[in-house]
């Protein structure tokens, strides 16, 4: 039951994009078309789920065990970068079709702050191994929902008459603000 709560909390109530402002760069940069947005969301969800589990293992069995918590950020970013690299190689070997779809988006995930943010938030909340994975998966699904909705709106936005100064990122952020308002409707939905 707690796992379901963590999942819903990470994906909807405390959506990473709309409440923590994590992953804004790909959210603004990659949300021009719905198909690319979904691919990006899927790739990110995959990496985030793995990150949730692996950073927990690193934190518990290496950083805590040897008492070297000050190496946390260096260790995490190396783990995430190599994880992304590893996932890229694995997908290329096992499923060329999926690699074709996700290929170019994979390296970009390393600099997605949502991934590192997820690892830091999971530690802050004292989740255990399984909960960290659920949290990572939920956060990834939340990111996918956000970027897909945004892409859908932006596809329609092309046909509207936006004032000159507001064209481009400015109007995208305005739409994001309205979406954040809508997502505020989930707050108080559940608390953990």
């Amino acid at each position: 039951m707690k796992l379901i709560l963590i999942f819903i909390s990470a994906s909807l109530v405390n959506n990473f994009v709309f409440t923590y402002f994590l992953g804004i760069c790909p959210f603004v940069g990659m949300s021009k078309r719905v198909e690319t947005a979904i691919s990006m969301g899927m790739a990110t969800t995959f990496v985030m789920t793995l990150t949730g589990g692996i950073t927990w293992l690193i934190e518990t069995y290496i950083l805590d065990y040897f008492g070297v918590a000050y190496l946390r950020y260096v260790a995490y970013i190396i783990v995430i970068a190599s994880l992304v690299q590893f996932v890229e190689m694995y997908i290329r070997k096992t499923s060329p079709n999926l690699y074709q779809t996700l290929g170019i988006f994979l390296p970009l995930i390393t600099t997605n702050c949502a991934v590192l943010g997820l690892a830091l938030f999971a530690i802050l909340r004292d989740y255990n191994f399984i909960e960290s994975i659920a949290y990572g998966f939920g956060a990834g699904v939340g990111f996918t929902i956000a970027i897909t909705i945004m892409a859908g709106i932006r596809e329609e936005l092309r046909f509207s008459d936006v004032p000159k100064a507001m064209q481009g990122p400015a109007i995208t952020l305005m739409v994001a603000g309205l979406l954040a308002l809508a997502f505020m409707g989930f707050s108080g939905f559940l608390t953990i």
């Binding site: 760069c25 100064a165 990122p169």
Partner: protein, 203 residues
């Protein structure tokens, strides 16, 4: 002359926040008050200047294949220092900024300047560029923080600025207000510059 150009670039023409649109995550997350925005700006400034300097000094010895990993490790080291400094001397601010200080590691601004500028230019230029970019980022954060704090609570630097007649706009300190403030500020700056609001780089 060239040094001055490198310094000035980040302040307006290529302001990281309003022109290049990089490093937006902390921009939106910590600008709910001026003091948070200022602290975040200074922390980023420190990391940016230190890492650009070091990377520019040792750029000859970093093999091209592992350069990004090396940059990230250098940046993460300075971020750890900044984080410990804040936690040690300013625990209240450190608590308010929370995980957004460690997230400077993946701030596209820091890695972006390392990759596009510090790794290709001599040390004085790299420092000038980093100082300019850092200041440009900081004034952006302070501006957004000021707008949101005044409208959201009628205060500035936690000092009551507007009288009792003012009904605070709660929305401005909530997440949605962050998006609105940045969006409108961008629009105003685009209007002043008379250019179309296209990002030159999108990360």
């Amino acid at each position: 002359m060239e040094l001055k150009d490198d310094l000035k670039r980040g302040l307006w023409d290529q302001n990281p926040m309003f022109r290049l649109l990089i490093g937006l995550c902390p921009t939106l997350a910590v600008t709910n008050s001026v003091i948070n925005g200022l602290s975040m700006g200074l922390a980023t400034f420190f990391v940016l200047v230190s890492s650009s300097t070091i990377i520019s000094i040792i750029k000859k010895w970093i093999p091209a294949q592992v350069r990004l990993a090396s940059y990230v490790v250098i940046i993460a080291t300075f971020v750890t220092m900044a984080d410990m400094f804040l936690a040690g001397y300013f625990p209240v601010i450190s608590k308010a900024l929370g995980p957004y200080v460690p997230l400077i590691v993946v701030n596209c601004l820091v890695l972006g300047r390392a990759e596009t500028f510090a790794s290709k230019n001599p040390v004085p230029n790299a420092v000038a560029d980093a100082v300019g970019m850092g200041l440009g980022f900081t004034w952006g954060l302070v501006l957004l923080g000021a707008i949101r704090e005044i409208m959201g609570s009628g205060r500035l630097f936690s000092i009551q600025l507007l009288g009792n007649w003012f009904q605070p706009w709660l929305i401005m300190v909530l997440p949605a207000g962050a998006f609105f403030t940045l969006s409108i500020t961008l629009g105003v700056i685009n209007h002043i510059s008379g250019k179309k609001g296209e990002a030159k780089h999108q990360h």
